[in-house]
């Protein structure tokens, strides 16, 4: 990876008073004599648009800004690798009115998608933002395809969605989107700097964000803080720094059940400092305690692993059973919160977790490449008979057999009388040998909370409810969009659309 100026021996001194050295050669614009939180600033760098974070939102913003004529866009990424959490997510992208929906004859609209999301969000999601995102999701999807992202030629119906509307990258990861977007950014001349940590905002006397202090040469987890440089932004600073699922202190302060002992799907850098800095300059905190755990995760592997995508694909035509009773305990494609809450209730008499077992016919599981991975890497198991399955997992066989027969009758009828699961995607898909199983247990996955933004991606000020000049946010770091439970595959469209929107707002000012 190119360092774009890191490790330079001739790095200039910083924070030198204006009177001492005057204006640096790289500095093109007028000088601020003083600013709100600085006595005097010597700018080390200056860029038209400054983006913090290199995930979906930051990359989409950079590309859109370039398309709208920006000359000088920089992305600062604190981690050694690019893409943030987006690079390791499931690569699932929900959008209404797409070519695949036309091909599969699915009736859908931005209103229907936003209504599904509002329902899962328990009514406290942000209607205008959801509508805005859904109405431009297909455009954002096409942007990724134009950049080279490749998707499976079929749709999936994820939990809580009333219709199939979810694309998935052929590599079953967000890396299948971030990699092409990074390439596109480089082609367009976007500067991308890794190991560069956003430290704080530089604010002028009127309260406008005019720049940021960036620690260049920051080595995550190695005790090297790097050297601070003052970066001036001409059009604004976009915070696209993701959530805080990996910050145990912050997340457990919001939700005391999410202690260090609860694993997370997130990369270790998802710690939320940029969000806290937004609060310092007045941003409105929204829904900080609504932290989502993923019901498709596995206790048998780290992070998102392989089982997550396997379960997401297979839940519609699978049953999850309690190992003690052999009975189902949830609608396998309910929204994430409903399912995670149901899973967390599976315990022995002493309260120890008993991860439920998800059972799928191999015949149906093999339609997705993930089954090969879960079997190969020992996080899923294949059985020729139900007896063998029951014995391996310690499930009472008679009860399990009864449950399977019962569920298969629901498949035949097209109606799930047990939990009201939508059975469209289970049509003709009986639970039959040979079987594949995985174990599921929730992991901390997504922070619904963050800084409040409007539909132009402007960060609002809690003191006057107006946008904070020069400050924009997009993606998981923004708060309130999804209410209490974000539907799966709705983060990528959120990040992409709000990143694009932020660029448009900055470029139109």
């Amino acid at each position: 990876m190119k360092n774009d100026g890191l490790h330079r021996k001739d790095r200039r001194a910083f924070l030198v008073g204006m009177g001492a050295t005057g204006v640096s050669a790289a500095f093109a614009g007028p000088v601020l004599a003083a600013s709100g939180n600085e006595p005097a600033i010597k700018w080390d760098r200056e860029h038209e648009i400054v983006i913090i974070g290199s995930g979906f939102a930051g990359l989409a913003a950079a590309i859109q800004a370039k398309k709208l004529g920006a000359n000088d866009v920089v992305i600062y990424e604190k981690m050694p690798v690019l893409g943030g959490n987006s690079a390791i997510n499931g690569g699932l992208f929900a959008a209404p009115g797409t070519p695949l929906q036309k091909k599969e004859g699915v009736t859908d609209s931005a209103d229907i998608m936003a209504a599904d999301q509002m329902k899962a969000g328990r009514g406290v999601a942000d209607g205008p933002l959801l509508k805005h995102i859904a109405s431009r999701a297909n455009e954002a999807l096409q942007l990724t395809i134009d950049a080279g992202a490749e998707y499976f030629p079929y749709l999936q119906q994820l939990g809580g969605h009333s219709v199939p509307r979810t694309y998935q990258t052929t590599v079953t990861s967000g890396g299948g989107i971030t990699q092409p977007l990074i390439k596109e950014c480089r082609r367009l001349g976007v500067k991308i700097v890794n190991r560069a940590k956003f430290e704080r905002f530089i604010v002028d006397e009127k309260g406008a964000v005019v720049g940021a202090v960036i620690n260049e040469g920051f080595y995550f987890g190695r005790g090297r803080k790097g050297k601070p440089v003052n970066v001036r932004s001409q059009r604004g600073v976009l915070i696209a720094a993701g959530g805080f699922a990996s910050n145990v202190g912050l997340r457990s302060a919001q939700d005391p059940t999410l202690t260090a002992e609860v694993p997370s799907t997130n990369m270790p850098g998802a710690t939320g400092e940029a969000l806290l800095e937004m609060f310092k300059v007045g941003a409105v905190p929204v829904h900080m305690a609504f932290i989502q755990t993923g019901p498709w995760a596995s206790p048998d592997e780290g992070g998102f692993g392989y089982v997550s995508n396997y379960s997401i694909f297979n839940f519609p035509h699978s049953i999850s059973v309690d190992v003690q009773t052999g009975r189902r305990f949830m609608d396998e494609i309910a929204d994430r919160k409903t399912r995670a809450d149901a899973q967390l209730a599976r315990r022995d008499d002493e309260g120890n977790p008993l991860p439920p077992v998800t059972i799928t016919s191999y015949e149906h599981a093999k339609a997705h490449p993930s089954v090969k991975k879960v079997l190969e890497y020992g996080v899923g198991w294949k059985f020729d008979t139900l007896e063998a399955l029951a014995e391996y997992h310690g499930i009472p066989f008679e009860e399990l057999k009864k449950q399977v027969d019962e569920y298969n009758r629901y498949v035949e009828k097209g109606v799930d009388e047990q939990f009201g699961k939508p059975m469209e995607k289970a049509k003709g898909k009986y639970i039959e040998a040979p079987f594949v199983t995985v174990r599921n247990w929730p992991k901390v996955h997504y922070c619904h909370g963050g800084a409040q933004i409007d539909v132009q991606a402007r960060v609002l000020d809690s003191y006057n409810w107006k946008p904070i000049p020069g400050l924009f946010a997009a993606g998981e770091v923004s708060g309130g969009t999804h209410g209490q439970s974000r539907l799966g595959s709705c983060s990528i469209p959120d990040c992409m659309v709000m990143g694009m929107t932020a660029a448009e707002t900055m470029m139109s000012a």
Partner: protein
């Protein structure tokens, strides 16, 4: 209580992966005069050659992300670590999450053992990896 058990589960799997890796480890890490280093880099440890990787011989800063590539050709590495059909994305030098952009020192340690990044979430093995 449930958190504890779950934590143990996660911890156990990480430990197993680490121990499995450690079995292959020690062969190339040896003690030179003042510091441990890799046996195949023995010629760097004459006390004056820290700047092969570090900016200066005082070695106060970490090497640049592309320092190893002054000797090691990335194309060759990508080819050497190619994975079988269907698992192309697991090539550590050209993988589906980060492409060819992972700084070497995120997986490789010159002076100490290191666990490769993939092990954060995955259990696949790289038999020739030198931890």
């Amino acid at each position: 209580m449930m958190m504890k058990t779950l934590g143990k589960l996660a911890f156990l799997s990480v430990t197993v992966a680490f121990v499995a890796g450690a079995g292959l480890a020690d062969s190339t890490l040896e003690q030179f005069d003042k510091i441990k280093g890799r046996s195949y880099h023995a010629s760097f440890y004459d006390g004056e050659s820290c700047d092969v990787c570090h900016e200066t011989n005082r070695a106060t800063s970490l090497p640049a992300d592309d320092a190893c590539q002054s000797c090691h050709d990335l194309d060759d590495l990508v080819e050497a670590t190619a994975r079988p059909a269907g698992e192309e994305g697991q090539n550590p030098h050209d993988n589906l999450h980060y492409g060819r952009d992972v700084p070497c020192m995120e997986c490789h340690g010159e002076h100490q053992t290191r666990q490769h990044m993939c092990a954060d979430c995955h259990s696949f093995e790289y038999p020739n990896f030198k931890p």
